[in-house]
Amino acid sequence: MAILIIAEHDNQSLKAATLNAVTAATQMGGDIHVLVAGSGCQAAADQAAAVTGVAKVLMADNAAYEHQLAENMSLLIAELGRDYSHVVCPATTAGKNVMPRVAALLDVAQISDIIRVDSEDTFARPIYAGNAIATVKSLDAIKVITVRGTAFDPAAAEGGSAAIEAVGSTHDAEISSFVGEEMAKSDRPELTSAGIIISGGRGMGNGENFALLESVADKLGAAVGASRAAVDAGFVPNDMQVGQTGKIVAPELYIAVGISGAIQHLAGMKDSKIIVAINKDEEAPIFQVADYGLVADLFEAVPELDGKL
């Protein structure tokens, strides 16, 4: 029995979410192999080989995998996956895009977004926006799984010395192509890996006011997030959304500013270690999950906070 992990990477470097998936796989038991499929992805493969717990790295280096299009990647993963008991991937947008396609090609279910491993075939996962946790047993010979990164500690990025094996097979479905991408440029940490996050909600009033949060974020080395209400209102891009339909985060400190605390937002942040809520409505549900609540007008409290840091 062996486990195939699909690495999240950008050809140059392995993304941190892969390390959380390695930890989850370790709990399933079995040798851990990591597939790094890309184009010019040697550097990412080298990093995967150094991760503690990884027994082997499979490197598929081909132009067809450059942008990791689901149509091509799924054919490769399904071909390799037939020889494994588990095919595991972080539940990032890349993983969510490709893995169900793999599962269907293998004629098995996918178990999405697991937060706990009970045994080799039994896993816990949140449903209904995290308002219930289902314990699910897989009845399939091959388990296709995506892993919620915040639920597992990262494996050590160093210490391993796995062999790297080249995978020759090329799959180009020739039904899709990459046109371009627009990545948000920011010197702040990424939401899903930040130690501190400060998020704004509808109470921010408009997008310009997020500058108040950015200033605090820069002093704390924090990422800036938003509630779905703030995204829906057009204040900030969807990429900043924390919640059931956005990013799931669990930082050391989460500061919710002008966020009422809708179920769907709480689903994305309630596993944070310390939660601070700043809201002028003392009845706001966010205070029910906050370790420290401050009932105040955010337009006074946030600049004051900024001044005291």
């Binding site: 942008h67 299009l69 689901a70 947008t93 890349a94 969510k96 169900p100 396609r101 599962a103 269907a104 090609l105 098995v108 279910a109 996918q110 999405s112 977004d113 949140p126 449903i127 209904y128 995290g130 308002n131 219930a132 289902a134 314990t135 699910v136 047993k137 897989s138 009845l139 399939d140 479905a173 899709s176 192509s177 990459f178 991408e181 627009e182 990545m183 948000a184 899903t192 779905r228 995204v231 891009p237 969807n238 990429d239 339909t245 400190l253 179920i263 309630k270 310390i274 601070v276 029910q288 999950v289 906050a290 370790d291 420290y292 609540g293 401050l294 009932v295 004051e304 906070l305 005291k308």
Partner: protein, 249 residues
């Protein structure tokens, strides 16, 4: 071009779900049900394509109990032309739903399939991608913009860190993200008109698909509750607590 759009009947997103006391499932008795919000966005996108003269016919499909007819009627009131209910009272897993939809796609031969990216009950985010695999179609998941250019669909996708644009051969499958559009409300005259639009009912047997369980739910439990903490009186007290009590800054 014919557009196929799928809708799922789920718990209304404003309802706080409760777990049954025997931990077998969530309690859905006497709970308000509605169309999955991401499916509303899918219907809206299809209707806009029709209004723009790109789509000629919109077929709406739902899979589930008899009552899912309500969600199909809602989609018909919003502008879909006809409905298909694949009726089953069994628990249909994503893979089974995808297999059933693949049969419907084979019969209907749409140029584009638009689906919600995930349903807010099971939160799986699987069916669109699975259908794409089974029909060997290209997929544009988590779409925030869809442009049809001849026999290609150009789809802008919400990905971690920003936006990605891909070009898909048609027929293709698109799954919707939040910012794709803002769904309209159905008008009363359209709700009345929708009652006369055709709605076919089929069963998994009609489509030749076996309803098979690939997973077994052992238990459903409420999540660990977080205790409310304290209220602080001032920003000064907050900073002091964060520095000296929680030690997180």
């Amino acid at each position: 071009m014919k557009v196929l759009v799928t809708v799922k009947r789920v718990i209304d997103y404003n309802v706080k779900v409760r777990v049954k006391s025997d931990n077998s499932d969530v309690d859905l008795s006497n709970v308000k049900m509605a169309m999955n919000p991401f499916c509303e966005i899918a219907v809206e996108e299809a209707v806009r394509l029709k209004e723009a003269g790109v789509a000629s016919e919109i077929v709406v499909v739902s899979l589930g109990p008899q009552a899912a007819q309500e969600q199909i009627r809602t989609a018909l009131a919003l502008g879909a032309d006809r409905g298909i209910l694949v009726q089953s009272d069994e628990n249909l897993e994503s893979l089974t739903v995808a297999k059933l939809l693949a049969k419907v796609v084979e019969e209907e031969q749409p140029g584009l399939v638009i689906m919600g990216k995930q349903a807010i009950d099971s939160d799986n985010n699987q069916t669109g991608q699975m259908l794409a695999a089974l029909t060997n179609m290209a997929q544009g998941t988590f779409a925030s913009e869809v442009k049809i250019e001849g026999d290609k669909a150009k789809v802008t996708r919400e990905v971690d860190g920003g936006l990605q644009t891909v070009e898909l051969n048609m027929p293709a499958i698109v799954t919707t993200d939040l910012r794709l559009n803002e769904p309209r409300y159905a008008s009363l005259p359209n709700i009345m008109k929708a009652k006369r639009k055709p709605l076919d009912t089929k069963t998994p047997e009609d489509l030749g698909v076996e309803v098979k369980a690939h997973t077994q739910v052992l238990s459903v439990e409420p999540p660990a509750e977080r205790q409310a903490g304290i209220k602080v009186a001032s920003v000064e007290e907050l900073v002091d607590k964060l520095k000296n009590e929680a030690k997180v800054i």
